[in-house]
């Protein structure tokens, strides 16, 4: 199917991709509330399947095949359509919203729809016995609508709306089991912490609109080509604030580990397929604002003699690089299986920002896609493990934490389906050839060390983080799947999860294993075979950057030495994990190391999460309370006082008015009445009831009339 033909139909097909899950969410909530219960899943899963079909068959595959056939023009496939939304900005001017499809959108759509669909199918099994089954599926559907809306947006307005829909849904889904106090707290935390970042994003978008007069990507990016550097840099930094919050980068990463309170499919959804990748997607989509025309965009400004140079991509790189290492050290010390994966997600997102920051655009987007698959696989796999262990513990009346890895062990034999898929996810995350993570992570490290904006310090951090990643994943595997079961009776009753859960795992595992292969030509090129260009590189660079005149950097040629080093580090990490957690002498060493004061001191800091929660509390929450205190005082002593003063004045004026009413107006009325009564009192004496008096008065009256007649008309 030719792209030219299909693009004619995009105008109504592309909006359908987010609209279908949105409609399913609304209808699912209504019908779920009407008592249809789990039958609403037909609706939500069906809508998601339809979206997936559109995204794959009608969007992604035509774009991909068209590109592979060499049919794309210079800028790659780029299609966008806008509609007038509402009048603003001047006579005849409208704020326009719309949808777009380019290579980045197509790839994201393919990834998001497929993963959400598989997660929803998985959730059919995972949430089967949950009371709030229909609410869960409706909220997941709404979440998917938010993410898909974000991906197809061609403007920052609908992007922000979709972004906030996801914020809302993360709140709803993390707090899904709202009867748990910890879930409620985690939901609030996720919502409020991301809000801190969203503030900056909103400012960035407002700035972009006020400078360029449009929300549309096209017009903003074209404006940025000729605009002065400072506003562009400020917009970029503002947008990146939103990314820090949504993608859980240091220092706003604290919400993500707590978000594990939600059901495990939600963890996979938020932490792999949708929400956290939205932050990376935002920076990738806004790359022309970050990158400038040919290199790092910088803006200098002097504040009171102090010269500041702002380079957004440098900020992105350092935040990402630091987060990658920082979160990896924490992941090493977590005992909750989902928390390990949570910190791993933070660390891997750090990798993506690092890649974006050093100019490795396609490498970062590549890692975004591969990570989405293998991390969704790992989360769903851990959910399968938790599900099984929880049931077994329930059966055996063991009151232990089913998520704690130290309560597991030896599960490989009991849960083969989960085990094999989980192993693939682990190898992909650890970066073992030929699984997908090896290629994407390798490209990022390569760009960091040898790219156009290479930085050896950041490269070193990335390598150490890669080592730690392999180590904590090995630790997870050895504690969970290998060794001796710690609760033999629970282990006996653990069974593999049903097919509805394991089948999605297997499908995702295929992607997690093979998605790296398009990058193989790059490695082969280093060996002197073929062109030496990763397929991803061309596909992603072409579509997203070229139309805006941004010079896409040529990806750095693969370096076999580096690939070898990375593999060695990964194997070293796995070996260390095996030694410490898989062998008896290693476990002795591990326990002893806690008794040496120096190592204990070094290891306590990450175990306590570096006090980030306390720090954020002191930096954001305490000052907020202080400001609120001042506001309350102002409210009480200024606003309330003014209001009370106005009230008192009103009462005073009213009492004057009342006095006037009582004494002047009422007085006049009363006086009229009193006059009438007094007149009556006087006149009544004429009515003395005596006939003679009346007769006399009649005669007197007659005489008076006669006299009057004589006086007036004269005699005769």
């Amino acid at each position: 199917m030719a792209v030219e033909h299909i693009s004619q139909a995009y105008g109504w097909l592309v909006p359908l991709i987010p609209a279908l899950p949105l409609a399913a969410a609304v209808l699912g909530l209504i019908f779920g509330g009407l008592g249809l219960g789990r039958r609403t899943a037909v609706l939500t899963v069906g809508a998601m399947a339809a979206s997936t079909f559109i995204a794959w068959v009608l969007v992604f595959l035509p774009v991909l095949l068209n590109w592979l056939a060499g049919g794309s023009p210079e800028g790659g496939f780029h299609w966008s359509r806008s509609w007038d939304f509402f009048a603003a900005g001047g006579p005849g001017e409208f704020v326009r919203i719309g949808v777009m499809v380019d290579h980045l959108t197509a790839a994201m759509l393919a990834m998001v729809t497929l993963l959400v669909l598989l997660i929803e199918i998985y959730a059919l099994g995972y949430m089967a016995s949950d009371e709030y089954f229909s609410r869960f599926h409706a909220e997941v559907s709404l979440f998917a609508a938010g993410m898909l809306g974000l991906v197809v947006s061609n403007n920052y307005l609908t992007l922000l709306v979709s972004w906030e829909i996801m914020g809302l849904c993360s709140y709803l889904l993390i707090g899904f089991w709202y009867f748990k106090d910890s879930a409620r707290k985690a939901a609030k935390k996720a919502f409020l912490v991301t809000r801190v970042g969203d503030m900056g994003m909103l400012l960035g978008i407002i700035l972009a609109y006020s400078f360029s007069g449009s929300f549309g990507f096209d017009r903003i990016f074209l404006w940025a080509r000729t605009a002065p550097a400072l506003p562009v840099v400020l917009i970029a930094l503002g947008l990146f604030c939103g990314s820090i919050g949504k993608s859980a980068q240091f220092p706003l990463h604290v919400w993500l580990p707590d978000a594990m309170e939600g059901p495990t499919p939600v963890s996979a959804l938020i932490h792999a397929a949708t929400m956290v990748s939205a932050g990376v997607y935002l920076v990738a989509r806004s790359y022309p604002l970050f990158y400038g025309l040919n290199g790092h965009l910088e803006a200098s400004l002097s504040l009171g003699g102090l010269q500041l140079t702002l380079a957004p991509l440098t900020v992105v790189a350092w935040v990402g690089g630091f987060t990658a290492l920082f979160a990896a050290t924490i992941a090493v010390f977590q005992s909750d299986i989902k928390k390990v994966l949570a910190y791993s997600t933070i660390s891997q997102l750090g990798y993506m920002f690092l890649g974006l920051g050093v100019g490795g655009y396609s490498a970062a987007c590549f890692h975004l896609l591969t990570h989405a698959f293998f991390k969704a696989l790992l989360f769903l796999g851990s959910g399968s493990v938790i599900h099984a262990v929880e049931h077994a513990m329930h059966h055996e009346h063991v009151a232990e934490d089913p998520q704690n890895m130290y309560n597991m062990g030896g599960l490989a034999k009991k849960m083969p389906g989960t085990y094999w898929t989980f192993l693939i996810g682990t190898l992909a995350l650890a970066g073992i050839f030929p699984f997908s993570g090896f290629f994407s992570k390798d490209e990022i490290v390569l760009e960091t060390l040898f790219g156009a904006h290479a930085n050896p310090v950041l490269g070193l951090m990335a390598l150490v983080a890669a080592f730690l990643t392999a180590f904590y994943m090995a630790r997870l595997m050895f504690l969970t799947f290998y060794g001796q079961p710690r609760h033999p009776s629970v282990w006996e009753h653990t069974t593999d999860s049903p097919a509805v859960m394991v089948t999605p795992l297997k499908i995702i595992a295929v992607f997690a294993a093979l998605l790296g292969l398009p990058a193989l030509p790059s490695l082969l090129g280093a060996l002197g075979i073929g062109s030496g260009h990763s397929l991803f590189e061309g596909f992603l660079n072409l579509g997203a950057l070229a139309p805006y005149g941004v010079l896409a950097t040529e990806a750095t040629p693969a370096n076999l030495w580096l690939a070898g080093l990375a593999t060695l580090l990964a194997l070293g990490g796995i070996a260390l994990g095996w030694y410490l957690y898989g062998t008896a002498p290693g476990q002795v060493v591990r326990r002893l190391s806690w008794r040496i004061p120096l190592t204990r001191a070094v290891m306590t800091a990450p175990k306590r999460l570096y006090g980030m929660n306390e720090l954020l509390y002191a930096v954001f929450v305490k000052p907020t309370f202080a400001v609120m205190g001042v506001c309350a005082a102002i409210d009480r002593w200024v606003i309330d006082l003014t209001v009370n003063l106005v009230g008192a004045l009103t009462v005073g004026l009213s009492s004057v008015s009342r006095w006037l009413d009582q004494h002047v107006v009422d007085g006049a009325v009363n006086a009229a009445g009193a006059t009438a009564m007094g007149g009556g009192e006087l006149g009544k004496f004429l009515q003395n009831g005596k006939v003679q008096t009346y007769a006399m008065l009649a005669v007197a009256g007659f005489l008076a009339v006669m006299v009057l007649r004589l006086v007036v008309m004269g005699g005769a």
Binding site: G689, K690, Q692, M696
Partner: protein, 114 residues
Amino acid sequence: MPQDLLPYLYLSAVLFAIGLFGVFTRRNAIGVLMSLELLLNAVNLNLVAFSRWSDQGVALERFGGTALAAGGQIFAIMVITVAAAEAAVGLAIVIGIYRTFKHITVDDLDLLRW
């Protein structure tokens, strides 16, 4: 005005004034009725006097010859008849008053007072 008519009119006026005075001042209801008769007779006298005077041909011209020559006198007889009836009704009322109040002093009959 012919001189021979005037004495009758003066007498009539005096009679009327006496009757009026009586009606206003008598405390006894019978006295009031009697004074009323004086009033009626003063009027009768007037009627007869004017009738006689008008028979002399003056008034006939003024009324176009349509009035009867003895119209005033006939009217006086009418008045006497009505007066008789009036006296009967009046006396019946006085008897009614007496039966109710055991007296006929007009001054004390002020039931319609305020």
